[in-house]
Subunit: 199 residues, 4 copies
DNA sequence: AATGAATGAGTTTTCATTCAT
DNA sequence: AATGAATGAAAACTCATTCAT
């Protein structure tokens, strides 16, 4: 016999993704079995296939969902000054990532477990995110505000630095998120050569 | 019958580690089978166990070897000025990491595939590396040279930024390693608030 | 694709235990592979793990089941005279063991293939069985009916003698089970020094 | 490089057999690897093959050696009275077996790990031993001394009882070997119906 | 929508044995 | 006589996936 109560079809799907997210982040895609995900949800392994065609797609959907929301919520920066836009980007990146450590971790760690086709799609989304930062940097350099050479490198360096926060930041820890944002904004502003004036 | 080819006693051990290094970096520890490593070496899977007690130890040895050399070769900075010491650290980190992309990748990606005991040992080595950078930052702040708040955070941010280079830098690519070093040194010097003088 | 034949959910479990029983008795626990058990059942090796967590538990369950039934079915001897109780014990032991040669063989031969924990549990059951015989011997000695010194030794000697029957007795062979019982009862009665009366 | 001292060829052979004897008795033939035997001897696995063609022969040689010595040393009973001969047999069996627990254990437990051919040879030796006891019983019955029906069964029952001692007897334990011999001789003499007179 | 039984291919590891040295 | 490197086959067990119910 199956379920003991009414139908859960509309709630099991999200729970499957939540379980996969948690376990993939904790143990890695390869180390998590479909049985383990099923156990976390409280169903048998076979039931998962009502919600995902296979394990690979489950991973891809988590990563794509994360990137879609990231791109949708990031500040658009239309008509903003470059320094303001950069500050908005840094603030958003840190706040968004601090609130979704599992998604972020998976997005960086499990890229190589994507099929070639899925990898290409996620890479395109990621590049689109990097490009928006690079545009800000280019605008700032054109306006003589940022003293930097290679905007691509600086964009990557900034993102690496900001994303590194997730390896140690924990809500409720020694530092508040606002303090972290303040310190990183200091470092970024300085790194692009726009740090001395506002003091 | 026994092996079909000649004996390679003193050369197989290093080849096993080299094959594991390459494949772990390429596909991830969990996705690489002992058979795959053996095939890369040109030997049957059982023969690997003449050189490592198990797969876990193979991973640990690679990571420990990497960290040992990293710590042994990093600049000691005795009697150097903080700014010089920081520059030496940045230069060393970029050059050392650029030359060993596989070791670096594994050291950051496969931490969670270590057993608890092995993880603790590698973590201790990693912390020791971070501590040396933090000491430089503390000295620079004490001397009034660096304008930074939390030396721990800045140390982690710098290392994250520098290590991020490995995700895109390839020898022989658009930028030479020296150019990369110059740009990152600019950014780091600025990030710690020591960037205005040379202008 | 999944299984090629129909589902046998409620019948496969017992068949797994029956196959293991037969093969363990025939070839020894260590010499029987899970594949061999699966082949006997007519499934793939992996399917066995729907019915037992591992090979060790399969062995333990067979031995524990045997001992449980042995203890449940053995004569309780409440209020019986020692000589009657001893005769009931001998008769029961021979009849029970003659009907379950495989279980008996495994119970004596595979003790050392049990894990420490499982061994302790089986040993406790076995000791409980020996104790019941020893109680009969103690009662008989106290009543002046049995001329024996060490009841522990005599109990072990009787059980060894009786169990030895299984090395050669086959139903339908030269001797009927009743004849075997009669002869062994003669020997046991004599061995405890209660044999002279019937002459 | 090989041995560090002079040649051990004439001493390693016996040590190999001693190591195999000990380990087979302790863990069972199937559970003992050639590497384990080699380690016990202090040599690499390959070296064992200078002393035995294979693992199966190692087992067979141990069992055959045991049976050969058993048959050579057992009392011949020429011209002895049946009761004396029986007592001599019982005494010899207990004493011989008490002094060689490992050989005895292997001889009973590892029969099924012999190849068919080797099994037949060992069985022949074993039957020869049983026959000698049966001859004593037949002579005793013919002389009207033993009141028994089936000499084959009684022979097997006596051997089973006596051999069972090895499951619990330990030199230096609660009972001396002489006490054990005395008690078992009591039981055997009674069991064959020759027990009441000498009291 | 979910179960539970099953598959077939895979995993790491062990092992008896061989053989050039 | 012994080593150490290697083989090829096998072990126990896991896993993603399928499917009748």
């Amino acid at each position: 016999m199956a379920r003991t109560t009414g139908s859960h079809s509309d709630i099991t799907g999200p729970r499957v993704r939540a379980a996969a997210l948690k376990l993939f982040a904790q143990d890695g895609y390869a180390a998590v079995s479909m049985r383990a995900i099923a156990a976390e949800v409280g169903v048998q392994a076979g039931a998962l296939y009502n919600y995902t065609p296979d394990k690979q797609t489950l991973l891809f959907d988590l990563m794509q969902g994360h990137m879609d929301v990231l791109l949708a919520q990031m500040p658009q920066g239309d008509g903003q000054e470059p320094l303001e836009a950069l500050k908005a980007f840094v603030t958003f990146h840190l706040q968004y990532h601090a609130g979704r450590p599992d998604e972020v971790f998976i997005a960086y760690m499990e890229l190589r477990n994507l099929s070639d086709e899925n990898f290409a799609r996620i890479e395109a989304l990621r590049r689109s995110y990097e490009d928006r930062l690079e545009h800000i940097l280019q605008a700032g350099r054109a306006a003589g505000l940022f003293r930097i050479h290679d905007t691509k490198i600086v964009a990557l360096a900034i993102i690496a630095m900001l994303t590194g926060v997730n390896t140690w930041f924990r809500a409720g820890g020694r530092l508040s998120l606002d303090e972290v944002v303040a310190q990183y904004w200091d470092m970024v502003r300085n790194a692009v050569g726009a740090g001395e004036l506002p003091r």
